[in-house]
Symmetry: C2
Subunit: 279 residues, 2 copies
């Protein structure tokens, strides 16, 4: 028998991947959680029928949601990751010696458990003594922790189910208040091909809250359209103004200092999503 | 009934897209040619079961195979497109006032016919008086036309069937001889995720024939992995040395002068495909 997993990334288009076997399936308090073993991308974490990460391409998302902000802030000590229960963003955050405390605020503890079991290389950092795992609603957490963090990464699922509130302006307002006076945030903001309205709206919202707002992209083959966007909101440091010679270099597989500024050079059709907001 | 078209882009992974109807199907002398009307990407040209272009995302490939070379050469007059029977690359070439003659060497005249009928906005340039359509084998054509062209674009299908020879060193050698002494070529060279050996080999081959060899990428959602590579071989002009203020700007949707150099900033795993060849 041939088993294929198909994700309809939109109602009319998707990806399909051959599956060796289903390793895990579970209805958690918040979502359907599946782990599949695929041939092309290795093990695959699927939440509510949407691919979250895979063995083969996880490095792109986790490096790219993390290093732009962490390498722009000159001395990030207190870091918060909202969502990101797989631990991949935390793993990248911990590469910085300056980090004293990295909080993971993940609403669904079952994601953390599944990642530790099936994706040990992604979850590797979660046992580090600097890491504090909070199984909480990230929206509530930022409201209750003001002026605490240098960097906040919003590593959410798609804007359905438990993650809807993570794309709302009131949430970004709380993040702004949870950051220190020179803090910087990054949120994953979906595909420029399939989520144009969302990207425009979030960019506008973050622009109204932060003096410096930027959008960058990365290539992620298992995500819808293969092109993914991230939106930066920063109170003081501009990722385009950092000196390249000051950027830290790590044993990464996608990000490197030479890429730090060029990922902000957007295709024209992506630039146009932001234009009315930049004027 | 729901009709879905699925392309296995590798033996174990692919895309699937909902189809309104099949508009055309034909076995030509060289390949199976289909035109589908999809919901997500509009009309889709499929050759031997592989998506070649779609209404919605065609601009990325056609702009990106064309403008890097055309905007690097200061005065391209004679241009050759090998393959590219849909006419999209020719359309972009014709934006340059310097162009006196643009030859399309396409082996399969049925592709040109189908494009004119179903993709008039892509084929728009094919009736321009500067365009010369040659229904010939591109390999033979470059052998017989030495020292003729300023820019040659290799707009081939995947390296199977009629296009196998378009990825061989002897072909690039013929291209080098068909270019003028300051000529520049670009070839589409597949996905950095799925075609690593091919990219490494072609980069090495082109490096052995041209003093300047560069690789750049673009995001194309209907192509395997969504990330596509292009390899430049140049006798004189380096795309990374052009003055941005000299770059021509057009009413394009992906390419713009600000992107001209940044697309050469490669993710580290792509850089590594080229390293042993650059040493």
């Amino acid at each position: 028998m041939e088993l294929w997993y198909t994700e309809k990334q939109t109602p009319h288009h998707g990806i399909t991947s051959k599956v060796k076997k289903s390793l895990h399936t579970e209805q958690t308090e918040f979502q359907q959680l599946d782990v599949l073993e695929t041939i092309q991308f290795g093990k695959m974490l699927v939440l509510d029928g949407m691919v979250m990460t895979t063995d083969v391409d996880e490095f792109v998302y986790h490096e790219m949601i993390t290093h732009i902000a962490m390498n722009t802030h000159p001395n990030p000590k207190q870091v918060l990751v909202i969502g990101g229960g797989d631990g991949g963003a935390i793993r990248e955050v911990l590469r910085y010696d300056s980090v004293e405390r990295a909080v993971l605020a993940e609403i669904d503890g079952k994601v953390v458990e599944a990642s530790k079991k099936y994706f040990p290389q992604i979850a590797a950092g979660l046992t580090d003594p600097r890491v504090e795992i909070q199984v909480v609603d990230g929206i509530q957490y930022v409201k209750e922790n003001k002026n605490r963090f240098d960097v906040i990464l919003v590593d959410s699922t798609e804007p359905v189910g438990p993650a809807v509130g993570l794309f709302e302006k009131s949430f970004y307002q709380s993040i702004a208040e949870s950051l220190n006076e020179d803090g910087i945030m990054v949120a994953q903001t979906e595909s420029p091909w399939f989520n144009r309205d969302l990207i425009s709206r979030v960019f506008q919202d973050i622009s109204s809250l932060f003096p410096i707002t930027r959008l960058y992209t990365a290539s992620i083959p298992t995500y819808p359209s293969g092109l993914w966007s991230f939106t930066v909101g920063s109170k003081k440091y501009d990722p385009l103004q950092v000196e390249e010679t000051n950027l830290k270099s790590f044993d990464t597989r996608y990000y490197h200092p030479g890429l730090h500024k060029s990922v902000f050079q957007l295709p024209r059709f992506v630039q146009e999503l932001l234009i009315s907001k930049e004027e």
